[in-house]
């Protein structure tokens, strides 16, 4: 069991989600549970609740999971996915209000040091365009 907060990347585009996850792995390393999802079930752009739920479970950590999203549906579907988790897990997942790529790298950097879910979220959200 990994004690570090997990990171989930949810984009409308599987390429964006996979690319952001690659950046996290190469820049931050393997100390953080990481999962991504994106794209509509039949191909094309989109997000769906089941895949987000599965990604959260893949990246699960008892320390919690921080979710990075891109636009609109990615956020609302992520919130729906969180509502489908068991009660005991719902309070340990947050959707960060941060840019998806930069936020994922910042959040993972913070998580790799063993920081709490709240610290991870704060670091991701601290990032604002200059």
């Amino acid at each position: 069991m990994n004690a570090n907060v997990g990171i989930v990347i949810v984009s409308h585009s599987p390429d964006v989600a996979r690319g952001a996850a690659d950046m996290v792995r190469q820049m931050v390393g393997d100390d953080v549970p990481l999962a991504w999802c994106g794209g509509a079930p039949g191909g094309g752009l989109g997000t769906n609740v089941e895949e987000i739920l599965a990604a959260i479970n893949r990246a699960w950590s008892d320390a919690g999971v921080a979710v990075l999203v891109d636009l609109g549906g990615a956020e609302t579907n992520s919130e729906m996915a969180i509502e489908l988790l068991p009660d005991s897990r719902q309070t340990r997942v947050v959707v960060c209000n941060a840019p998806i790529v930069e936020g994922a790298v910042m959040a993972a950097t913070e998580a790799s040091a063993g920081s709490s879910l709240e610290e991870v979220r704060r670091t991701a959200e601290e990032l604002k365009p200059a």
Partner: protein, 94 residues
């Protein structure tokens, strides 16, 4: 016992403190309990090395000097380790 430590190093990395070097610096800093800061001179302005966002915001370029200062029980070890990381061009120790 609380120590105070200082050190200076020049950034030789081709792109300065960009994304990957900043991540490495922050990760290493967070492995120490001391408060650790760096600045462009020994009078600051000081940046918390444990904050990845603040470190990146400094946009420290190649050839800039990094003045470290630390306070805590492992301050000396922290400054030594961070300077060594910069000197080996932010490569992870093997």
């Amino acid at each position: 016992m609380t120590q105070n430590a200082k050190g200076v190093v020049r950034v030789l990395h081709e792109v300065g403190l960009h994304a990957r070097p900043s991540v490495r610096l922050t990760q290493l800093a967070k492995s120490f309990s001391s408060r650790i800061e760096f600045g462009p001179s020994d009078e600051g302005p000081w940046t918390d090395v444990k904050s990845i966002v603040k470190v990146m915001k400094t946009k420290t370029p190649k050839d800039a000097l990094l003045h470290f200062r630390a306070e805590g029980t492992d301050a000396q070890a922290a400054v030594s380790a961070l300077i060594a990381l910069v000197e080996r061009d932010f490569e992870t120790e093997t």
